[in-house]
Symmetry: C2
Subunit: 440 residues, 2 copies
Amino acid sequence: MRLSQYFLPTLKENPAEAQVVSHRLMLRAGMISQTAAGSYSWLPMGKRVLSKIEQIIREEQNRVGVHEITMPTLQPDELWQESGRSDAYGKEMLRIKDRHERTLVYAPTAEEVVTDIGRRFMKSYRDLPVGLYQIQWKFRDEIRPRFGVIRGREFLMKDAYTFDVDFESAEKTYYRMFSAYQKTFARMGVAALAVQAETGPIGGTLSHEFHVLAQTGESTLFYDPKIDELKQADTLDLKALTELYAASDELHDPAKCPLKEEELRTTKGIEMGHIFYLGMKYSEAMGLQLQGADGKMFHPHMGCFGIGVTRMVAAVIEANHDEKGMIWPWPVAPFHVGILNMRVKDEATSQICEALEEKLGAMGLQTLYDDRDERAGVKFADMDLIGVPYQILVGPKNAANQQVELKNRRTGEVELLSVDEAVNALKSQQEHFARQVFQG
Amino acid sequence: MRLSQYFLPTLKENPAEAQVVSHRLMLRAGMISQTAAGSYSWLPMGKRVLSKIEQIIREEQNRVGVHEITMPTLQPDELWQESGRSDAYGKEMLRIKDRHERTLVYAPTAEEVVTDIGRRFMKSYRDLPVGLYQIQWKFRDEIRPRFGVIRGREFLMKDAYTFDVDFESAEKTYYRMFSAYQKTFARMGVAALAVQAETGPIGGTLSHEFHVLAQTGESTLFYDPKIDELKQADTLDLKALTELYAASDELHDPAKCPLKEEELRTTKGIEMGHIFYLGMKYSEAMGLQLQGADGKMFHPHMGCFGIGVTRMVAAVIEANHDEKGMIWPWPVAPFHVGILNMRVKDEATSQICEALEEKLGAMGLQTLYDDRDERAGVKFADMDLIGVPYQILVGPKNAANQQVELKNRRTGEVELLSVDEAVNALKSQQEHFARQVFQG
């Protein structure tokens, strides 16, 4: 992408309305623009990151065998009456009358619709286990939306729903999804911690929250240091892991905690995912029953598994930034490499930039080429703000020697390299991350 | 994908509520399930097709240099007041009061929001031309939703908006998008015809509708046979093409048509896309102005360019089916190849099926492996209904000779081939379509 042809409206000033660093940086880097209270338009660079995060989530969901579907954003209120949740959700759920005076709700979650799909099409225990997920826009009418896309009203969420014949099978499904979540966060280049959670109005008995660790996180997390030890192991023993103490400040109770305060480790996090074993709450309430192996009808055991997709963009920034701007982990970076043309009117300089653009593009890397006729200071500041992981600086002096500077945005390290050396260094990065995807 | 592990709830009976063939087949093949009047859940196979269509549209939009964004589904009514369209849309536009009694509308289109983005961030003629598009859910509260996803209430649409300095530049943009549309439909394996269109409540002066040709189409199209001649040419002269007469029954007026009735060609179509040159209607109404090269402020000339994405799935089916079911064009097929195991308990048969599944998968082909313990008749009927373009039939007799039958779903042709020959035949198909993408 050439910056002169892109739509990347960066701001020089810090927007006054932004209280948290991710909100500030997303506005400054032209990733989002507020369209209504708590509701954002995703501008081209924001949309690129959002799509990459979506795709990682999708790949890891597909890998554990749940199938992608899409349910409507507007759902009939009748289904919510059946489950008994229409009133429970209160004013956070947006209610709408259509032209025929039927009540629709803008879905904050989709247990009712997916259970309705189940009772239409699932007949026998042989149809199970089955899991369905969607990545779809949701709405929660927060009384006070804040922190940009962290607590917005219209947001993108991945929600998966699973159906099993009994608790034993549902528990296996639960832990399979648990490990998919760990892999999903790891692939995005962020550290995450699962803590025991309350099930709340969604119901059920087994539940975890996944927090992305960030100094600026809203939640304080308390956990058994053995968790860090277990995570070092080659193969992770999930059951052992989840038996160890880990709780957010909402649930942490020193009186009930098996460890003394000084034995606990504490950290800060942002809640990014929530998983629940739901039991038969919805299958019973909505009359979803299947024929068992013994010929008798039974209600399937369900689970539900959410990740905040739009919120994830902000969490990655909260965990990866410095005073100059964002520092994208490679797998979710809007572009892998920035090319900075330090003198657009110098032919040799421009030739090297264009050759790099073509070569890196042919390798499958995404480049952002700053071909604007701007001062060096503006180019440096913009590229640091955007946080592309690697920058190639091409100036007339080095260009004359077929050399360029390769800068690592995270470490700030700059190396003077030949054009080929720079390309090879980026190729190693690319291969490193491609291996990670397959090894999990 | 193994059918035993998939969620593909096919129906044997024709659903009574479906009046058109695409609706009937989508329900029978378990692609969609109605969740509310005019509102569908997309089940796994439907979602696969939808995603492929989305991706082709996205690639062709990116190729002409418009940038993907996402705007919220719910928009502030204030913006629609500014453009004067809040009342014009009437009851088709869903209005919602949030908890603070502010009115939101569920967007049927997004000229207002994108113009608002423009006036926040576009400063100078140097920022133009720029084009932004999204693929986002829309809602139109049709009084009588019908024909399944052809005239639903909640639907997925690609909508692009462009900004140019003057009419000349806007006209170039218009024709660049016009040709992107032709390529988009061609890549999906359907024939399309552009007809002159009225601009309607959206405004502007230059407008075309794109219809996918199908015997079962709602619209009758009248056009100059020279259009078919022009399309045969190596390079298409778009200006010449659009000067020739082509109109749908809504606009066709024999009295004003330059051709006699017997000179016209007629065909049937389904409206899939609509493109408009909008002029300065929105930039004026909403005060979007930029500084020109001469230092004076000017209102950009806008264009808008829509494609019905969910409707496209139905249109492809209307144009590609027979009495047994759907016949997917390769580029949008949910799976490229079906593997039918005719005796799952025979080891040699199953081994060949699994080897094929692995080999074709490694080539990047998507397979649907019918590994169910079902009668041959059920397997034939389901695979024909689903309409996967190629089927490989593996039975115990042929398996003993390392042979399989390769069936072309469209022609019905069946060839007895060695396993390797079958794989090579599919490889040629794959290469043929890969070339098409790049040649345009």
